[in-house]
């Protein structure tokens, strides 16, 4: 077999593999990019740029089973690079450090155990848009941690390695991110009048 023919066979096989994987992952990549960038145009650019890099570097990927995490890593790195370039959207945290917030503790009423579960009822009423807004409002580094651990199921160690930070930092960011997310959901629910026994937008 000539070198050219071998190359062509590899290229066809690579193209078929890449197309199938992209088709499988496209909605997750785009959804993740939407959560990271906060708008459709930037999300589209981020996914397109990431997939262009992935396609160009595919020959360097030794284990095709690892494609999913590999392409996700490219997307995350692309997002972080974009963030660093855009001074108006810093990746570093400037968030206030209020105490830990638990939606469950705010809503759960032990004496109602057998008659009602306000916390479960709230989950039934929350719209996807409510959760998107709460997630989108998180400071960048907390949002990154939530996206990587909750949306992509990465371990703390994998997240730490990708972000080049200690595992303890990831543990702290994911905990803080969830706390802020639940706090934001609580405030949104209150504003929307979804909380029983509370007047719309008046509770402290």
């Amino acid at each position: 077999m000539t070198g050219d023919k071998g190359n062509e066979i590899w290229r066809q096989s690579a193209r078929a593999f890449f197309q199938a994987e992209v088709e499988r992952l496209m909605d997750r990549l785009y959804g993740t990019a939407l959560r990271l960038t906060g708008n459709r145009s930037d999300a589209e650019d981020l996914v397109a740029d990431s997939l262009a890099k992935a396609w160009n570097r595919l020959s360097g990927l030794q284990d095709r089973q690892a494609f999913e995490k590999w392409v996700f890593r490219i997307l995350i790195n692309g997002f972080i690079s974009d963030c660093r370039r855009q001074k108006t959207r810093p990746c570093e945290v400037g968030a206030d450090r209020e105490g830990e917030f638990s939606l469950f503790e705010k809503l759960h009423q032990p004496f109602l155990l057998w008659w009602g579960t306000p916390e479960q009822e709230l989950l039934d009423k929350l719209l996807r848009a409510d959760i998107e807004n709460a997630l989108d409002a998180l400071p960048e580094e907390f949002r990154l941690a939530v996206v990587m651990v909750e949306l992509w199921g990465l371990s703390y160690a994998e997240t730490a390695e990708m972000l080049d930070v200690p595992v303890g930092t990831v543990r702290s960011r994911i905990s803080r991110g969830r706390s802020l997310l639940q706090s934001a959901l609580w405030h949104q629910a209150r504003e929307a009048g979804l909380l029983k026994g509370e007047a719309k937008g008046t509770a402290g």
Binding site: M26, D27, T32, E44, L51, W55, N56, L103, L113
Partner: protein, 77 residues
């Protein structure tokens, strides 16, 4: 043999438990506690449901324009 945990300890470790970040022994201890503690079990179920709702937001129908861009990239290189 698993260790006995108090509810405070379970709640403190709950999110790491749901993330599968605990060592086997601690994970077993939490699982065992939640077999008999309704309050901790309820909280774990709530957190599970909430994170499932959060996970849903990470998937969105990609626009046709993006699919065409990716196709063009593959043609170009």
């Amino acid at each position: 043999m698993t260790q006995d945990l108090r509810c405070e300890e379970v709640i403190d470790k709950l999110l790491e438990y749901l993330d599968r970040e605990l060592d086997r022994e601690t994970e077993d201890a939490l699982a065992q506690h939640m077999e008999t503690c309704r309050a901790c079990f309820s909280r774990a179920e709530f957190e599970r449901r909430l994170r499932a709702r959060v996970r849903e937001t990470g998937k969105a129908r990609a626009p046709e324009s993006l699919r065409q861009r990716v196709h063009a990239i593959m043609e170009r290189y």
